[in-house]
Amino acid sequence: MLKRTITLAAGAAMLATTAMAADPVKIGFVTTLSKGPAVLGRDMRDAADLAMEHIGARMGGRDVEIIYKDDEINPGIGKKVTDELVQKDRVDFVTGYIWSHVLLASYKSVIGNGPMLISANAGPSQIAGELCNEDFFSTSWQNDQTPEAMGEVLNQLGIKSIYVMAPNYAAGKNMVAGVERTYKGEILGKDFTKWPDQIDFSAELAKARAAKPGAVFVFYPGGAGVQFLKQYSQAGLKETIPLYTVFTVDAISLPVVKDLAVGSLATQMWSPDLDNAANKKFVDGFKAKYGRYPSFYAAQSYDAIMLIKAGVDAVNGDTSDKAGMRAAMKKADFGSVRGAFTYGNNNFPIQNFYLREAIKNDAGEYTVKTVKTVFTAYQDSYHSKCPMN
């Protein structure tokens, strides 16, 4: 036992030494690769692989290696694999992170221990506020921003009343709080449904129908979104009450639910039809390589790799020059697929939010098109709690 342990440990130590000699820039990528949400992880990994292809797997004159780890949607496992990436693989950057709770659990393992942390999806309020750090960057959004944009859309459309549904967990409550913050009409009813294992929404949908709202707003990420959209349509509500969503209708759920989601509206900081060179290269490349549209998870992951490249390029591959990398990354001039944006004091993007409609295009593919810009250069509301400036 003892012998085995030491042999293993010594083997790993030797590996680490050889790795340093070959000297690639190492990026740890923590996402979900098993269970239901594995499909989100696959999109993120595919996008990161595509980014690697586009940059020839080189940054600042050095080779680049990405190590993927599965968090099993479990903060404990996420923290464990993050520890392993930082302490054993000795990566220079850690990125990925779909889930707020996994990111929060892993945050302390990275920050202050050397590597920089780039969230490619989760944006919990704590990290945007009091826990902000110069070694943390986001290529996504702060959780509340997207529903805040949706609340504004509802105001602009003059919708008098809404019915709200979301799963009963922290992100679900954040989403509802976000919409409540900006929406000025009346909220006729709110349902927080069991998470993650509610099979049936009929009870809540019946209440929504009876409340006769001007619109229904929901947040159901991943598989739950597919389920919700189907039941919404089967209940005959699709024709009678317009549906507005955040993080529910995306490139993951659309090919599954198809026509049932067509016409529904959602807010997002990115869309596959945004007109800029980087986005074209990304979306076309992704479609050519994988035969499907990328999701926003993919776009944010692609940007995460590009952001890291901007940092490493600026210091010519000398990843020990963290100040140099931070300064270069903070400029946000790496050519994001969302178009130009800037970083706020808390290193979260100050960016546009768009209203997107789910459509079936001429080629018969299900995708989304941008309807209009809801917010320009929109900053999250927690940045004032962040002590950095």
């Binding site: 499909v39 009963n168 809540e204 598989g223 389920q227």
Partner: protein, 307 residues
Amino acid sequence: MNWILLIEQTLNGLQLGLLLFLLAAGLTLVFGIMDLVNLAHGSLYMVGAYFAATFTAWTGSFVLAVVLTLPATLLVGAVVEIVCLRTLYDRDHLDQVLATFGLILFFNELVRLVWGPAGLSVPLPEFLSSSLELAPGLIYPSYRLAIIIASLLAAFFLYWLVARTRIGMLIRAGASNREMVGALGVNIRFLFTIVFGLGAALAGLAGLMAAPISTVEIGMGENVLILAFVVIVIGGIGSIRGAFVSALLIGLIDTVGRAFLPDVIGGFFDDEFADAAAPALASMSIYLLMAVILAFRPEGLFSARNG
């Protein structure tokens, strides 16, 4: 009180309960007759849903997919029984729990390998994807009605099979005295394989009926598995009648709890508390029910021995 809403919610509860019954019936059948705790029952439910999705895509017809899925899951169940579970019959429950827990892990990865990580969808035929107006103001999705009818048919079939046929007689006899039936020259091994296959087909049926209203994805069986266990434990393990009653009970309590608890709690406390407490209480309600029932009737409502 809004009566139409109440009727609608009752129908919703019935429909959820009947779906749970299909899942629980297979589980309780296998348990009652072979004395086998099968955690992998949820995996068979998942496999049924994946089959339904694949067959619908191949044939372009949901009805044809139903016809193909049932024998396919029966076959999968029979293979699992022959390869792995057969040796577990004379083991204690702990062994069975562990081995079938292992099966869950295996099936999840197998499905991911075969079908990939992306969820699948089962589109419904036109005549099932709309809503019907049952009474003025009472609009109900036609597919939900189809679930209610199909589940009731399956329940009657099961009753007929167990109570009225020769194979049912053997099943009942095998449940009460395995050795005796074996001694009478009945091939008990074959009988068990058939029963397990039947249970698997029931799980597959539940899976394929749930597929059009839910996401066909990895791990979908684990969530409902626990519910199915709650059903059979409340009903009394091995009792199909008990499973039927408790499935309806749980379906109704769960639905009605979700529908009306927020208002009820909101009537007594402030909104913020109601927002936090109601969903938690609704999620806990069926487990609470189970604990209370077992505290007073440690063998469930209908003990298999006398019902």
